[in-house]
């Protein structure tokens, strides 16, 4: 108020001022992504390309670069990630979550088709030598982030080809080899050398590697399958899911007409079941809880069902019945669900006296995996899983990431590799450790006005029909969305917590408090002049994305 008032005297009039501020917030997709992928950012570059005077091709190139900053394998992750980013997408309850994963896949393929180079982080070159044990997603991510910063990186891989579980355990119909090869080759092109067929521990000692390199990244994954411990489990005809998938990738064998029982409810179990179907087997998947509790991605379960995999829920194997060495049956006990465990999943308990014998020729056990410490030996902080600092630091010169720190999805492994590299680089250069978690204020529920946005159905890539699948079972089931679809899908993004130039604030501000910025980019279209602001707060109310909010005080 401009009128004079003695100091300390309460104003006669309540304040009629709501001062707005432009504040970028953490969108739910990014909050949910283990790698903090800025989906809103790169979707915005695509969706708003005309506003920012970019051709669509240039926008896709730019989106590729943004994704590749954090993830050097977008075409791969775009195929295999269960996309937690889409789970809490604000658009989900309106007309379907944004197909972030599908657009990421398109961008990944776009990068491959245009041979786009991975973005370097400066032009420095550092003398330190970096070693990475394993070449799965965590090690690849770590190696990439170190190499792009100017370090020489050497990877040690026990197999002949790099890629870890991506290469050895994920079937081709989900992740074609040529895609993985293209993405890995591009990473290795950043002056990263791979020493193949080298099992650290047996071929070369860990201590020797520590002497050879300034620091080591441990990314051995979790390739040791766990047994379930039932009578008859050990012997021919029982194989772990991981081993089955690895063997099959090298040399598929016909199982025409054989009865295969797959035990487990995770993605490995589903992959094994679908792969066995492709080999001609009659496959039944046994899971001790109900379908609701299955950790496997629901669309994978649906696909498996469509391909002819039978499901038996609420059964638990209690023994493998053999005739000599040959498997005849698997004895299963019927279960029921009791109260939820500490993870919120309902606990299965046996129903006394309810058993069944299921005929089987082969049993694939895919219940759990753990790191194989066999040859490396005990590591500091090793129990079953590595216990590291949040940024992956395990010891003076050892960092770790990926499934050896606990089983998770490939995106998380990539994130852990990245965090470790960022932290290791900071330590080597005497810089402050970067934050692992995102400190941006999250978009509050309800602040995005979903009804502002026009209805637009979610884009889906072509999903091959059963007939198509039968004619060529190893080809990819899901196809990449088209050039046009990728742009349309990006335009569905509500840009939660960031300006996308809807112009509502600009058009409706009576005080002309918003001025258009010359050099625009997503999130940066208008400057707010508080001296022109009248404090009505209308801009906050009309801002559909929740970018504008009331300033405290």
């Amino acid at each position: 108020m401009s009128s004079t008032r003695p100091p300390g005297e309460k104003p006669a009039v309540p304040s009629f001022r709501i001062r707005a501020q432009q504040l970028e917030k953490l969108p739910p997709c990014q909050a949910q992504c283990p790698n903090s992928g800025d989906a809103r950012g790169w979707l915005g570059v695509i969706a708003q390309h005309e506003k920012n005077r970019l051709t669509l091709d240039d926008a896709y190139d730019k989106a590729w670069e943004m994704i590749a900053e954090l993830n050097p394998l977008p075409a791969t992750i775009g195929r295999i990630c269960p996309h937690p980013c889409e789970e809490l997408c604000t658009r989900r309850d309106k007309d379907g979550a944004i197909s972030i994963n599908a657009v990421e896949r398109f961008i990944g393929d776009w990068g491959i088709s245009r041979s786009l180079p991975l973005p370097r982080a400066g032009s420095a070159s550092y003398p330190e030598s970096i070693g990475a044990i394993g070449s799965g997603p965590a090690s690849l991510s770590f190696a990439y982030q170190m190499a792009r910063r100017g370090y020489d990186v050497t990877m040690y891989e026990k197999h002949d080809l790099p890629g870890g579980m991506l290469r050895h355990a994920i079937p081709d119909y989900r992740l074609p080899r040529e895609i993985l090869d293209a993405e890995i080759d591009r990473v290795l092109g950043l002056n990263i050398s791979v020493i193949r067929n080298t099992d650290v521990g047996s071929s070369i000692g860990l201590e020797e590697l520590r002497d050879r390199h300034t620091l080591i990244f441990l990314g051995i994954g979790a390739q040791a399958a766990r047994e379930i411990g039932i009578p008859g489990e050990k012997g021919p005809g029982v194989i772990s899911g991981i081993d089955y998938l690895q063997q099959r990738k090298q040399q598929p064998q016909s199982q025409q007409g054989k009865r295969v029982l797959v035990i487990g409810g995770g993605n490995t179990a589903i992959d094994a079941a679908r792969s066995a179907r492709r080999d001609g087997a009659l496959v039944t998947l046994l899971y001790r809880r109900s379908e609701t509790e299955m950790p496997a991605a629901s669309h994978e379960v649906e696909d498996a069902r469509m391909e002819g995999v039978e499901f038996r829920f609420l059964v638990s194997p209690t023994g493998v019945v053999r005739d000599g060495t040959k498997i005849r049956q698997v004895l299963v006990q019927e279960m029921r669900l009791a109260e939820a465990d500490e993870q919120g999943r309902r606990r299965p308990v046996p129903i006394p006296g309810r058993f069944e014998k299921l005929p089987a020729d082969t049993v694939i056990v895919a219940v759990a995996q753990a790191p194989d410490w066999g040859s490396i030996g005990a590591m500091p902080g090793t129990q079953k899983w590595l216990r590291t600092r949040e940024d992956g630091k395990l010891d003076e010169d050892i960092w770790a990431g990926g499934d050896d720190r606990g089983p998770s999805i490939a995106s998380k492994a990539i994130a852990q590799g990245r965090f470790a590299a960022e932290s290791a680089h900071a330590e080597l250069r005497g810089q402050e450790y970067p934050r692992v978690s995102n400190v941006m204020k999250a978009v509050r529920s309800g602040t995005v006005k979903t009804d502002f946005y026009c209805e637009q159905p979610r884009a889906e890539g072509h999903h091959r029909s059963q007939a198509e699948w039968l004619s060529d079972p190893e080809s990819e089931i899901d196809q990449t969305i088209s050039y046009e679809q990728a742009c349309q899908e990006a335009a569905r993004c509500m840009s939660c917590g960031l300006c996308f130039d809807c112009q509502q604030c600009f058009m409706y501000c009576n005080g002309a408090g918003f001025a258009r910025i010359e050099e625009t980019r997503p999130g940066n279209y208008f400057a707010l002049a508080l001296d022109a602001c009248e404090g009505c707060g209308k801009c906050i109310d009309v801002c559909p994305s929740g970018y504008l909010e009331a300033r405290d005080g």
């Binding site: 009039v13 009629f16 009804d451 502002f452 409706y508 707060g537 209308k538 109310d541």
Partner: protein, 435 residues
């Protein structure tokens, strides 16, 4: 309203036309995001007129029950009863209620009209128009999300709280957008009981001697009271003086101004667009010509209907609008000139305490007695409600009986020792002066 009238008229003459309505807002939102920023007063006669056009406003839209005006001045208060039943006034919400409110059992007036137009066949496009251009003998409409379409006629009804007219001005050197001034509207949650006891079925009008304040009103609407301040460039200083005045504070329980539930500083049209039409382009309501300070909804109705009639029966060229639409705009504009004069006289009354005493006393006397016509009461009623043209109001002030009555009260109220001057007038019921 244009879409509704246009489609109705087109149907009667068998014209096959489509109407797209661009409106980014959803009137189901509470607060300014779903509001058209006005006090929300319509005369009962307009409600009836709309009903004859087929626009029957349901009770959830019209908050009936305002049967009187209470005039507050520093020299006293007086309640003015509705002169005739058809001159009652109704209150509406332009949006879906105040920002800080729970969902009300009300329906937005604008939302209702939008639905009505939709039922008539109009297509609602929830996009923000940022530009309108002549292109290849058609009009192209451009939206913020880069959507674009072409039309044979564009009707601008964006009002003056949007920059669209400014964009049009930038494109056409011949177009002058409407003149605007800043006002203030806010909502207080007081609850039905308090409102019934404190405000009654009355709209409270304040004629206070505060520089630049032309008019202030408090309109009860359900659990809320809407406050409107009209004047020249309402600012903090004016608002502080207004809220500090005892006439205002005493309207609230405990004479304490409560926290508000919503507020905004909307602009109103104080000078018509020039011209309010062009080839395939016409501005209606506040975007074109509207009544000065009052009856914006009534003016929107009249201009929308005239524009629709022109487009359906005569054509969409500039010459068609000049011949069939412009006369109405000119009529409104001429009346506004008279209105300006009437309001300047009212401003003199606001500034002169002796004049305020006379107006108050003359009104109070009219309200106490069953005599008709109640000349001062009628003038004030029509001035506050916008029920009559300013020309009619002005002409009524020229009546010898009105002038005589005013002069008589000027003398009587200002004589040394008079009750009005000493502030010892009766208090209480309608027609009584409360000091």
């Amino acid at each position: 309203m244009f879409s509704y009238f246009f489609l109705t008229m087109a149907e009667t003459v068998g014209l096959d036309v489509g109407v797209d309505m661009f409106e980014p807002r959803r009137f189901c939102h509470r607060g300014p995001a779903g509001c058209n920023h006005c006090g929300g007063i319509v005369s009962e006669s307009l409600v009836q007129r709309l009903a004859t056009e087929g626009i029957r406003l349901p009770d959830t839209v019209v908050q009936r029950g305002i049967e009187s005006y209470t005039l507050h001045m520093d020299v006293g208060d007086v309640e003015i009863a509705t002169p005739l039943m058809e001159k009652r006034i109704a209150a509406i919400y332009r949006g879906n209620g105040p920002r800080e409110s729970v969902p009300l059992d009300t329906h937005s007036f604008d939302g209702y009209l939008l639905e009505l137009a939709q039922q008539k066949g109009a297509r609602i496009i929830h996009r923000l128009v940022t530009d309108v251009r002549h292109e290849e003998d058609l009009m192209s409409v451009h939206c913020a999300d880069q959507y674009c379409d072409k039309y044979e006629l564009v009707v601008v009804a964006s009002g003056v709280n949007s920059r669209l007219l400014e964009m049009l001005e930038n494109q056409s050197h011949n177009f002058e957008p409407p003149g605007r001034t800043k006002t203030f509207i806010c909502e207080f949650h007081l609850g039905r009981e308090v409102i019934r006891e404190t405000f009654g079925p009355s709209m409270h009008v304040f004629l206070l001697d505060i520089p630049r304040l032309k008019f202030a009103a408090m309109i009860p609407k359900g659990d809320y009271v809407t406050l409107c301040l009209l004047g020249h460039d309402i600012d903090d200083d004016l608002m502080e003086r207004f809220f500090s005045s005892p006439e205002v504070r005493n309207r609230f329980p405990g004479a304490i101004i409560p926290e508000h539930a919503c507020h905004c500083y909307p602009r109103i049209n104080i000078r018509a667009a020039n011209p309010a039409y062009g080839d395939r382009l016409v501005m209606i309501g506040d975007s074109g010509s509207t009544r000065l300070l009052k009856d914006g909804i009534g003016a929107a109705y009249r201009t929308a209907k005239a524009a629709a009639k022109t487009a359906v029966f005569h054509g969409v060229g500039a010459e068609n609008f000049e011949r069939h639409y412009a006369p109405l705009c000119r009529k409104i504009n001429r009346d506004n000139q008279v209105g300006k004069f009437v309001f300047s006289v009212a401003s003199l009354v606001q500034k002169a305490r002796f004049a305020r005493r006379a107006v108050l006393q003359m009104t109070a006397n009219e309200q106490k007695q069953a005599v008709r016509p109640r000349r001062m009461s009628g003038v004030l009623w029509d001035l506050f409600s916008g029920s009559e043209s300013y020309t009619n109001v002005f002409l009524r002030t020229l009546h010898p009986a009105y002038i005589g009555g005013l002069l008589w009260n000027l003398v009587v109220c200002n004589l040394p020792g008079s009750a009005s001057r000493n502030g010892s007038t009766q208090t209480g019921e309608r027609g009584h002066v409360q000091h």
